[in-house]
C-alpha cells in the first residue's frame, strides 16, 4: 500500500460534519502477572467507552490521574491494542488493520505531549526533530522535506524558521518548545490531533497563546482535536464538547457551557467545585470535596464506580448496578441513577 502523505493544507473540507473517529465499546485491559507468568487479574484502564468525533470537532476529555484517559489516548493513537471493542477511523476498523495499515493510521493522528522538554530529543536539532516523521513515512526528497518544515514552522509562528532550525531544545523557552512539539505533530497532515495536557507545564501567560494556536490550527485545517486535561478552566475557551472520565468509564458527556452552568454527574460537580478562580475569598473557606481517592482499576467498586465517594448515592441501587447513560436533556448524557 503506497503511503499517501498529503501536505498539511489538503484536508478535505467537504467532509466536515461527517464522522471521523468512532470509538465503539472500547475496553483496554492490562494483564497483571504474578511472579512473571501467573495470572493475577487485570487493570481495567478503559472499561466500556463509546463516542463519535466529527471532522473539525474539538472535544475535551477531563479526568484525574488514574481515570484511564492516558490509556484511552494511547489506544486512539494506535499505541495500545484494544482488548475488546473497536476504533473506527475514516470508516476503517483498527481491529482489522495490519502493520502497514497501523503505520498509516499513526501518520493520520498527531500527538502533542504534556512535557515539551521531555518530548523533544535533547541531542537533536529542531530541523532533525521535524524531519524524522517525514523520513519515517517515506518522504524521500530533501527539498520536499525542507519545504514542509518551512511551512509548518510558519503555521506555529516560529519565524523566521532558519533562526530556530539549528537550535537544540534546551535553547528554546517552554512555549517555543511546545510549538515545536505541535509542529512535529502537524507535519504529516493529520486529521486528528490528540493533545495531552499541552499547556499544564507552561507558565500562565503563555498557556492562552498556545491554546489559541491549537484553536487556529484546528479551524484552518478542519482538524479534529481531543484535548485531554484535568484543568476545567481552560476547557471553556478551547473546546465545544467535554467528556468526563472516571475509573475507566465516561460519566458525563455534554457541550461545555451547559456543563459549566449545570453539571449533572456528582463527580463533575465535585470537579467544578474544586476548581478555583482567582478570588481572595477562597482563603476564608474550606472546600467541600468527596472523601477518599479514585479507585483501583484492578478491583473497581461494584455498581457505579463513584458510589463510595458520592454524597448523593442511592442506597440499594448505586452500589449494585452499573448505571447506563441517561439523557436528561438534549445532548446531555450522564451515567448516573439520579437521572433515571
Amino acid at each position: 500500500m503506497a503511503l499517501n502523505v498529503p501536505l498539511t493544507n489538503e484536508a478535505p473540507a467537504a467532509q466536515a460534519g461527517d464522522t471521523l473517529l468512532s470509538v465503539e465499546d472500547l475496553h483496554v485491559w492490562f494483564e497483571l502477572k504474578k511472579f512473571g507468568f501467573g495470572h493475577a487479574g487485570y487493570v481495567r484502564a478503559v472499561d466500556g467507552v463509546s463516542f463519535d468525533l466529527k471532522y473539525g470537532e474539538s472535544t475535551a476529555v477531563v479526568g484525574e490521574s488514574g481515570c484511564g484517559k492516558s490509556s484511552l489516548m494511547k489506544t486512539i493513537l494506535g499505541i495500545n491494542i484494544p482488548t475488546k471493542g473497536d476504533i473506527v477511523f475514516q470508516g476503517r476498523h483498527m481491529s482489522k488493520m495490519n502493520r502497514s495499515d497501523l503505520k498509516w493510521y499513526r501518520s493520520q493522528v498527531g500527538y502533542v505531549q504534556q512535557d515539551p522538554y521531555g518530548a523533544l530529543a535533547p541531542f537533536m536539532t529542531v530541523e532533525s526533530i521535524l524531519e524524522e516523521p517525514l523520513i519515517i513515512n517515506g518522504v524521500r526528497s530533501k527539498s520536499e522535506r525542507r519545504e514542509r518544515i518551512q511551512k509548518v514552522m510558519e503555521e506555529v509562528k516560529m519565524t523566521p524558521a532558519d533562526d530556530f532550525l539549528h537550535k537544540f531544545p534546551h535553547m528554546l523557552s517552554g512555549g517555543q518548545q511546545q510549538r515545536i512539539v505541535i509542529a512535529r505533530a502537524m507535519i504529516l497532515g493529520p486529521k486528528l490531533l490528540v493533545a495531552d495536557e499541552p499547556v499544564s507545564m507552561l507558565d500562565a501567560s503563555v498557556r492562552v497563546e498556545i491554546l489559541r494556536l491549537l484553536r487556529n490550527l484546528q479551524e484552518q485545517h478542519n482538524l479534529a482535536v481531543i484535548y485531554i486535561t484535568h484543568d476545567l478552566s481552560t476547557v471553556r475557551y478551547f473546546s465545544e464538547r467535554i467528556f468526563v472520565m472516571y475509573a475507566g468509564k465516561l460519566v458525563e458527556r455534554s457541550r461545555i457551557e451547559p456543563l459549566v452552568r449545570n453539571p449533572l454527574h456528582p463527580y463533575t460537580q465535585a470537579l467544578l467545585e474544586a476548581t478555583s478562580d482567582p478570588d481572595a475569598n477562597n482563603a476564608l473557606i474550606y472546600r467541600e470535596l468527596p472523601p477518599g481517592e479514585p479507585p483501583s482499576l484492578v478491583n473497581p467498586p461494584s455498581g457505579c464506580r463513584f458510589h463510595p465517594r458520592c454524597s448523593q448515592a442511592i442506597q440499594g441501587l448505586c452500589e449494585v448496578e452499573v448505571p447506563p447513560e441517561f439523557e436528561p436533556a438534549p445532548e446531555r448524557m450522564a451515567a448516573c441513577w439520579l437521572y433515571k
Binding site: E64, D203, A204, H230, S233, R236, A283, R287, E293
Partner: protein, 318 residues
C-alpha cells in the same frame, strides 16, 4: 507589638557566578511576613522565585557571586550565623522547605514514616521510637492514615506523597514553611485537598507560609498577602483582598487577565515577549519592553512607591 513580624527580609541579594557574568536572580528583595500569615510569591519561570526560596533557607550552590542582605527571623538576623550554626538552629528547625516536585524526591528505599521521622532524629537528637510518634501525629495533620507509616513512596499516589512531604516539613514544629509549587503536578481534587490541609495547619498549628507559585487561581486559596516577582525583583506587594480585586502593576494586571476563569465570561489574554535575561537586565524598568502603559520615565528604574497598605515598583504610581 501588633506589628511584630515573623520574618523581615531587607535588600536580599543572590547573584550566581557564571562564565558570562553574574546572574542576578534575587536583586534587592524586601519582604515581610507576619505570624500565622501566608504570603504568596507570584511569578513565572525565570523570575527568581525558587532562588528566593533558596536564599531564605541558605541552600546555596557553590557558584555564588553575591549573597547579602538581612533575613531577620523573629528578631534574629540569621545572616550573621555561620553555616553550621544556621544548619543547627534555623534550617529544618525554625524554617523548613517543601521543594518543587517534593513528592518525586522522596527516598525510594526508605519507608515514608522513617523519612518523616528523620529530621527529628537528625536535628533534635530524638530517639527513633519517639520520632516515629511525632511522624504519626504529622500524618494526622495532613490527612494520611497512620498505617501508611510503613509504606514505601511508590505505594502512594501523587497527592499522598505530597502530603508526606508536607508532613516532613512540619515535624520539627517550625514557625515558617516555604512551599515551592506545592500542587503544580497534581489533579484538581487533590490540589483542593492539599489546600484544605494547608489552611487547617495555618489555623491550628499557627505556622506561617511562603507559597511560591505561578498559579494565580490556586494562590488565592491560601494568600493573606501577595508579592509579585519579576526579573529578580518584587514589583508589587499587597494584601490579598485588594490584590485580587484590583492589581496595580501593569504586569500583575496582565497576569490576572491571562487566567482562564471557570466562572466569568471574559476571554483570557496572553503576554507577548519574554522576561529579560537575569544576566544583563535592562537598566530601566525591567518590564518596560512588554508593558502597554510604558512612557518616557520608564527608562529609569522606578523606586518602590507606597500606597497605604500596598507597594508598587512602577512610575505610574508616583
Amino acid at each position: 507589638m501588633a506589628d511584630k513580624k515573623l520574618l523581615i527580609i531587607k535588600d536580599l541579594v543572590l547573584y550566581f557566578r557564571t562564565e558570562k557574568g553574574p546572574v542576578r536572580a534575587v536583586d534587592k528583595v524586601n519582604f515581610e511576613l507576619g505570624f500565622k500569615e501566608a504570603v504568596v510569591v507570584l511569578g513565572e519561570s525565570g523570575c527568581g522565585k525558587t532562588s528566593l526560596a533558596k536564599a531564605i533557607l541558605r541552600l546555596l550552590p557553590r557558584n555564588i557571586d553575591s549573597y547579602s542582605g538581612q533575613i531577620i527571623l523573629d528578631g534574629q538576623d540569621t545572616m550573621a550565623l555561620s553555616d553550621e550554626e544556621y544548619r543547627q538552629q534555623i534550617r529544618w528547625v525554625r524554617m523548613s522547605l517543601v521543594p518543587q516536585a517534593a513528592m518525586n524526591s522522596l527516598n525510594p528505599v526508605l519507608r515514608v514514616g522513617d523519612q518523616v521521622a528523620e529530621p527529628m532524629m537528625v536535628h533534635h537528637g530524638v530517639r527513633k521510637e519517639e520520632a516515629l510518634q511525632q511522624a504519626k501525629k504529622m500524618f494526622q495533620h495532613v490527612g494520611v492514615p497512620a498505617d501508611f507509616l510503613t509504606r514505601y513512596a511508590f505505594e502512594l499516589s501523587g497527592g499522598m506523597r505530597q502530603r508526606v512531604a508536607i508532613a516532613m516539613s512540619l515535624v520539627t514544629a517550625p514557625s515558617l514553611i516555604v512551599l515551592d509549587e506545592p500542587t503544580s503536578a497534581l489533579d484538581v481534587l487533590t490540589q483542593a485537598n492539599i489546600f484544605n490541609v494547608l489552611k487547617r495547619i495555618k489555623k491550628e498549628l499557627e505556622i506561617s507560609f511562603i507559597l511560591i507559585t505561578h498559579d494565580i487561581a490556586t494562590s488565592s486559596e491560601l494568600a493573606d498577602r501577595v508579592a509579585v516577582m519579576y526579573a529578580g525583583q518584587i514589583i508589587e506587594s499587597s494584601d490579598a483582598m485588594q490584590f485580587f480585586n484590583e492589581p496595580l502593576h501593569p504586569y500583575s494586571q496582565m497576569l490576572m487577565n491571562s487566567v482562564p476563569r471557570l466562572r466569568g465570561d471574559v476571554e483570557p489574554i496572553f503576554i507577548t515577549g519574554q522576561p529579560p535575561s537575569l544576566l544583563n537586565p535592562p537598566t530601566g524598568c525591567r518590564f518596560a519592553d512588554r508593558c502597554p502603559k510604558r512612557f518616557g520615565k520608564c527608562d529609569q528604574e522606578p523606586p518602590i512607591f507606597d500606597k497605604q497598605d500596598r507597594s508598587v515598583k512602577c512610575w505610574l504610581y508616583e
